[in-house]
Symmetry: C2
Subunit: 339 residues, 2 copies
DNA sequence: CTGAAAGCGCTAACAC
DNA sequence: GTGTTAGCGCTTTCAG
């Protein structure tokens, strides 16, 4: 099948390529008749402009890049969905890449995206990433970047976050309000900011309610897996601290805790209340169902794209962009693992 | 920051653009010294070839499209991951789109991908899709297409599938072998091929083991949701058929069944064995944990890309492609919801 | 061994 | 209203 180019249309209509191009783009200086003819022929021939040629001229690809630590992950899958959905609405397509939480991959993938001349990049930083030169470098090159979820305050760009500290505060407060007296926190590995913020929210709540913060009640999970939740549950059982409430860093951990404690004969929530974080799908499925903090991935993904889109538009109009940090509200979802 | 083009390199080295281009590509007719000079300068300037210009010349984008019904879905997330991983290894990037199970979206999204001149497309058909003109049209245009999971035998192209019928047979056989006497099947909506195949596998197994197939034991869920599982559980309870085994179309459905039956006081697996399909993450979390059929999304995604990649290579070498259907093996994962 | 020239398909300033 | 021209950055003959 022969390629349908503007040249072909122009030739069969006996006009110039330029005129054909302008006719399709509704330039005011083209006669109605010509416009009609060109559009009609284009339609019947199913003319599709060659995006490479267009991009080469316009210096824009209408493609953005999205780098996330892990695709098979309820929260990030929601993010991807949100980004793709918002992007499609504005005529952008999305290339997704997975960093596997590795700084090296992240760096390489940014290169790959740049080589494809994406118009902008959305990133949730890898756990491994502590040095931000690679991100700053692309920002300096003038490529709009928006960070979401795993962000860094040290990078000058727009960001989409939740208030982890506040959300953790609310979750812990709920445990306190519902009568828990000895509340443990199961945190993740030290590096990510979120770990620290959720821990601080927990601590804030404890102290704001006349309880004494006790380091021995804070447990650290090596990873954020179901299995790690089970492991920590054993530690909790062995610690003999009369823990009657647990705020876990994430639902997966909480689920591991819940299942293991139940197996050990602990009544949930009668003896121990558990609250997770993220509102993954599985929190509806555990028994008892898991109370948690809803972390709205879809909204965050959409918001991240919107920020990028604005920046892209500004860039086209040569307007400078004020970087903003958008905070997406979270909310407690109380189910049956809490009193 | 000024753009680094071949022209720039050529000019600073006092050679022509053509020579610079060839030097970078190791053409045999360029002197070692020139090659070294060009490569060195390119490296220090961090020269990145402009992909639009390259694509415009070479007629290939090194980007492929991926259309799936639903991103936030354990199996499809695995597919995406597999595709992206395999593609990255071969220097391809992936644009992902979600059809929401809608034929109209699928059609539109194929257009979008074609407009971006992707080199090939990977599709899992939407539930709505019964007419395949849109797929056949792009194949006729010479764009390689590979179908996976939700496929159609009516489309002439390479495909990646599992043997649903055999897998369903094995699952049902397991129920029979473990002593179930009255086995129900909970199927999904009628349209997709998978529904029919899994149903037939169930029927085959029943009949192959001297039992009598009974239509009254087949329940249809409107959707494949957790809630629908609960709804069907009610029907099963109301039907008074002494059902002691259930093969469900998918884990989500199975989980709904399991939870609702438990709530109604039914002992799982003592009174009723349940087996699901797909081996979603959640099947490890239910209590009791769910026996299921492992449907390896990652492998399927990788296989699908590999087929596409071969076809792409063939096309470049002007070798015709023999369409093949690759079958990825499934396996039973026996957990605690079966006797 | 190197470079001039053509062209991939499209757009936009400018001329007519 | 329409066409001419130039050029986006790269690759690949082909001539030297």
């Amino acid at each position: 099948m022969a390629k349908i180019t503007l040249r072909l249309i122009a030739d069969t209509l006996g006009i110039s390529v330029a005129t054909a191009s302008k006719a399709l783009k509704d330039y005011p200086d083209i006669s109605q008749k010509t416009k009609r003819d060109v559009k009609e022929l284009a339609a019947t021939l199913k003319y599709k402009p060659n995006s490479f040629a267009q991009s080469l001229r316009n210096q824009e690809s209408k493609i953005i890049g999205l780098i996330i630590p892990e695709i098979v992950h309820h929260f990030f899958a929601n993010i991807i969905h949100g980004v793709i959905k918002a992007a499609e609405k504005e005529g952008y397509l999305v290339i997704t890449l997975q960093s596997d939480e590795s700084y090296e991959n992240e760096k390489k993938q940014i290169e790959l995206l740049l080589e494809k001349n994406v118009d902008g990049i959305l990133i949730s930083l890898a756990e491994d990433t502590v040095n931000f030169k690679h991100i700053k470098a692309i920002i300096d090159e003038g490529i709009p970047v928006v960070l979401f979820d795993k962000i860094s305050k040290l990078i000058k760009c727009s960001q989409v976050v939740i208030d982890d500290r506040k959300a953790a505060f609310e979750a812990t407060k709920y445990l306190i309000d519902s009568g828990c007296k000895t509340i443990a926190h199961v945190r993740g590995p030290l590096k990510p900011q979120t770990t620290i913020h959720r821990f601080l929210g927990y601590k804030d709540a404890i102290e704001a309610h006349g309880m004494i913060y006790d380091k021995a009640l804070v447990f650290e999970a090596d990873h954020l897996s179901y299995e790690d939740g089970r492991k920590v549950a054993k530690e909790i059982l062995a610690s003999n601290q009369n823990i009657d409430g647990i705020f876990a860093f994430t639902d997966l951990l909480a689920t591991g805790l819940l299942v293991k404690l139940k197996e050990a004969g602990v009544m949930i929530p009668e003896e121990v209340s558990i609250i997770g974080f993220s509102n993954w799908f599985l929190s509806k499925i555990t028994s008892p169902t898991l109370s948690t903090v809803n972390q709205p991935g879809l909204e965050m993904g959409m918001a991240a794209f919107k920020l990028l889109f604005e920046e892209l538009s500004n860039k086209k109009n040569k307007v400078p962009t004020e970087f903003v940090t958008v905070e997406i509200p979270t909310n407690l979802v109380i189910r049956n693992s809490t009193r």
